[in-house]
């Protein structure tokens, strides 16, 4: 049982140039520019810069997603090293994240590209959010202001674009953007609208080729492309502290995942989340080292491991089981048990299904009518769910 609306839906019913060399970078192509970092560290990492669309903003190809960072020292160090793009949102920890980011970066604000987001649904609420963001971040303007997490075209109203234009005119933002987890619907929509400078989208190695085409479409339309969820959520949806995240870090798979994103020249920058100095140092390597065949192989292995198990919840298989099984839901219940160690929860959900569903046994079918385009071995996974829960 779940509601279709998000909490945000409910809650919302109701200029110094930031980058050195900006003036000379207007009209930059998407070429990567290699440069040395500030000389503050003993072994200065090599940084790579890219221009964000047609904004003229020139940023490190590895930016910093501040959402889960809890200690300002990591952000301070990243900026000292030379990372110059930092992203937060009004909604992160009810504003506490913006406050921390502002405190961490206040001494360097003029040298940085700073973005935040608003989940507001009306013009007035969005502009009010923006004022709060500016206050909490301790700055007069944002370089990019995103409409936060818009996954359906129905989530975007003209008055929100209007709010962004007003904010631009008032000098409170320099560029307008939108963040989405649903590029498939949103990028063509945004290209058609032509109202935005930047799109912040989920993009990682678990996605199929159609995503590359969407990114190209956005880029060709002049929009900057910023990639998030670049580590594929620690290679599964949800909590990076679970599953095999430490192993993935150890064997270099997480770095490989970041490099995979950066090898797409149409991606202007990335905002991986970072909570500690080790992660920061690891991620910096993505700018200094090329994506290698060894890493290609590593990610292919990982994809093979998670591919047959990991339901992307794309909904394509809906209605394709001849016995009427709710395939995606059953796979999700199995993930509760196997992926999250929540057997009771998985079983509870399974038993809540109608008897005509719980009584089906996949082994009774000679062949399976459900085909997953991502390679999930649906019939064997469903059989596993039935074995566990029925």
């Amino acid at each position: 049982m779940k509601s279709n609306s998000s909490r945000r839906d409910f809650l919302c019913s109701g200029l110094a140039l930031p980058v050195a060399g900006l003036a000379s970078t207007v009209g930059f192509g998407k070429a990567t520019i290699q440069s040395s970092s500030p000389p503050s560290l003993a072994s200065a990492p090599k940084l790579a810069y890219r221009a964000i669309g047609k904004t003229g903003l020139k940023v490190t190809s590895v930016g910093f997603g501040c959402m889960v960072t809890s200690d300002a020292s990591v952000i301070e160090r990243a900026s000292d090293i030379g990372i110059n793009y930092f992203d937060t949102a009004r909604g992160y920890q009810h504003g506490n994240n913006e406050r921390m980011v502002g405190a961490a970066l206040k001494k360097k604000r003029k040298d940085l590209v700073l973005s935040s987001k608003s989940g507001a649904r009306t013009k007035d609420a969005a502009l009010s959010d923006l004022d709060t963001s500016l206050r909490e971040l301790g700055t007069d303007f944002l370089d990019i202001w995103y409409l936060h997490s818009r996954d359906h075209t129905s989530d975007v109203f003209d008055e929100l674009f209007e709010a962004q234009q007003i904010a631009k005119q008032q000098g409170k933002i320099r560029f307008a953007g939108l963040s989405t987890h649903n590029a498939k619907d949103m990028i063509p929509f945004l290209v058609k609208k032509g109202a935005l400078d930047v799109v912040l989208t989920t993009y990682n190695f678990t996605m199929d080729k159609s995503m590359d085409a969407l990114i190209e479409q956005a880029s060709n339309a002049g929009m900057g492309v910023v990639a998030m969820k670049v580590m594929a959520g620690g290679f599964r949806a949800g909590n990076p502290r679970r599953a095999f995240y430490p192993q993935l870090t150890k064997d270099g798979a997480m770095l490989a995942a970041l490099k995979w994103v950066l090898k797409n020249p149409k991606v202007d920058t990335t905002i991986p989340s970072m909570t500690d100095m080790d992660q920061l140092e690891e991620n910096l390597k993505a700018m200094a080292e090329p994506y290698s065949p060894v890493e290609e192989k590593l990610l292919a292995q990982r994809l093979e491991q998670i591919g047959p198990l990991y339901c992307r919840m794309c909904g394509d298989c809906e209605g394709s089981c001849r016995k009427g099984l709710p395939v995606a839901n059953l796979l999700r219940f199995l993930t509760y048990a196997e992926g999250y160690g929540q057997f009771s929860l998985g079983r509870e959900h399974f038993l809540a299904l109608p008897a005509e569903v719980t009584s089906v046994r996949c082994q009774d079918c000679v062949s399976c009518t459900v085909a997953c385009r991502f390679g999930v071995k649906v019939s064997s996974r469903l059989a596993r769910a039935q074995e566990l829960f029925a």
Binding site: L11, D71, D278, Y340, Q342
Partner: protein, 278 residues
């Protein structure tokens, strides 16, 4: 086999209650449910808490039950988050509270504002939100009061909170990973002061704590020994300022971002004195 089935059934029941029971509009007279109830797990929380789900997942989110309640033209959301344990519930509460407002004695702690209320009790973190322009403080307070009654278990904040020196203390948070931005310090409490910050991390054993302290000392190259608890060092770091880190039994604690390592050591002694011995 029968006892196993019974145990599984009990587990299944335990996973529903009391989160589902607390997410109930009839907690307060005059309010009724609008639409269907919500239930989200780690797999799909992002559908509801759009763009901020990781902030909950980091704290060991298990599941969420929620309802939208209506009375007249007013609506209130009641969302009950089940976390892995009481400390995690307190942690997500401290991550989301307004640091400018006092913490009220509701469960382990709570805040009630005109359009928002939050509190935690045992392993549950509860968020309420009103969409009223004029605010709904009284209704939110009534929901909080009744919801708290329905949640059994711990209402005392984590013991570690009482270990931090109270003079000029601004706030205390549970950091779910990488305390002070150091991966070696996995999870612990951090207290912010007018000047500097203190922390306490619990390791599994004195031996593992000693190993972590040794690695930390190596990390801060020019560390000097200090006389605090079982073993300690002080250092001056570009980002963490004057600092002193000590071990007491299986606890690692310390002060950082002080003007001078000696100041950090003085404060660290006070913190160590309050941490229970073995």
């Amino acid at each position: 086999m029968k006892s196993l089935r019974l145990a599984l059934l009990m587990l299944a029941v335990a996973s529903v209650a009391p989160a589902a029971e607390v997410a109930d509009c009839h907690l307060v007279a005059g309010w009724g449910q609008q639409g269907s109830a919500r239930h989200f797990t780690a797999d799909n929380l992002f559908e509801y808490v759009d763009g901020n789900a990781e902030g909950y997942l980091l704290y060991g989110f298990v599941q969420m039950h929620g309802v939208t309640c209506q009375s007249g033209g007013e609506s209130i959301l009641v969302d009950v988050f089940e976390m892995t344990d009481a400390d995690s519930a307190y942690g997500v509460f401290t991550a989301n509270l307004d640091p400018h407002l006092p913490i009220e004695k509701v469960g382990m702690g709570g805040q009630i504002m005109p359009r928002r209320a939050l509190f935690c009790k045992d392993k549950y973190y509860v968020e309420l939100a009103a969409n009223s322009e004029k605010g709904q403080t009284a209704a939110l307070r009534a929901f909080v009061r009744e919801a708290e009654k329905r949640i059994p278990g711990r209402s005392t904040p984590p013991a570690a909170l009482s270990w931090f020196p109270t003079e000029k203390l601004a706030s205390v948070r549970l950091i779910p990973e990488s305390v002070l931005g150091l991966r070696l310090l996995k999870r612990g409490f951090v207290a912010h002061y007018e000047q500097g910050q203190a922390f306490v991390v619990m390791e599994q054993s004195p031996e593992s704590a000693a190993a972590v302290l040794s690695k930390l000392q190596q990390r801060f190259g020019e560390a000097a020994p200090a006389q605090v608890a079982d073993e300690a060092f002080q250092a001056d770091d570009q980002y963490l300022g004057g600092m002193c880190i000590f071990r007491k039994g299986r606890y690692i604690g310390g002060f950082a971002n002080m003007p001078d390592p000696k100041d950090a050591t003085t404060q660290a002694v006070s913190l160590a004195d309050h941490i229970p011995g073995m």
